[in-house]
Symmetry: C2
Subunit: 138 residues, 2 copies
DNA sequence: ATAAAACCTATTTATTTTATAGGGTAAAAA
DNA sequence: TTTTTACCCTATAAAATAAATAGGTTTTAT
């Protein structure tokens, strides 16, 4: 399951995507819209900014805005940023690989092979679908 | 990510599948093989038994054994049993559905639609691959 | 100057996962 | 029939992670 952090990130991105006509959007507006704690959302937006997805402007009249084209924001990127690995096992993660401690021989692990398949099927959707696809349907 | 519980369940099932020639296998043997706490594993095997995947025999010479044909144990069943939902959002879970609290209109949610796709791709593997597929590769 | 807003770091609280404890119960061997 | 063996069950504790909060700092428009 995705964490609330990731879910909130998607909500925020959706909101910002819908309001691209505005120069900036306040954290407050987004947290009001979805009933998310202001401070919690603040941390999330900061991460999205550090990742180069959002831009911001400080001071009066400031706020956040989408810096990337929605079609260039893959869903996988957002999930990895806030939640970490997409794969179901650390030993098949592309971005957060770790061997399974109890596994003697990864090459001979049947579970490993199936989970690679699952990962690839997930990525097939999550790498190709973007924020633009979400916005389309709203 | 799958929990350790689920991972251990797969290890145990693999071990039992490999040793189907024996009448029974001791918890101790499995926990030794993978370095899993005896008591923790005990709980997991019990759940697998309640779900009709394993059988057991009490008393001296007792232990656990596979009651189902490995090809009839879908990976999805094991995951749902120990971990719960496979879907990435509660609002797209087939077996553990719950609406997202912050979501006003599920039918108009773009994220919902994409996550249904992800779920279906995952299930396409996890429902069709079974314990037999894992055993094959070991 | 002042007010408004993002920025930053740390801490606390809550929840979930993992593990442990300790006995109860059934079955089989001797 | 006694004893051993190992499953069965419930409750609790410890650890890890996720979620939320706190309080100050910096920047900018007016």
């Amino acid at each position: 399951m995705l964490s609330k952090k990731t879910k909130y990130a998607f909500h925020a991105l959706t909101y910002l995507g819908k309001n691209r006509d505005q120069k900036t959007v306040l954290i407050q507006d987004i947290s009001n819209e979805y009933g998310i704690s202001h401070k919690f959302l603040e941390n999330i937006l900061l991460e999205l900014k550090k990742a180069g997805i959002l831009g911001s402007k400080k001071g009066k009249g400031g706020g956040y805005y989408l810096i990337k084209d929605p079609k260039d924001v893959a869903l996988s990127k957002v999930i990895r940023l806030l939640d970490g690995p997409i794969a179901l096992l650390p030993c098949v993660s592309l971005n957060y690989y770790e061997p399974c401690v109890e596994c003697k021989d990864e090459a001979a692990c049947g579970l490993n092979k199936v989970m690679i398949q699952v990962r690839d099927e997930m990525l097939n959707v999550l790498e190709n679908k973007t924020l633009a696809d979400i916005l389309d349907k709203e």
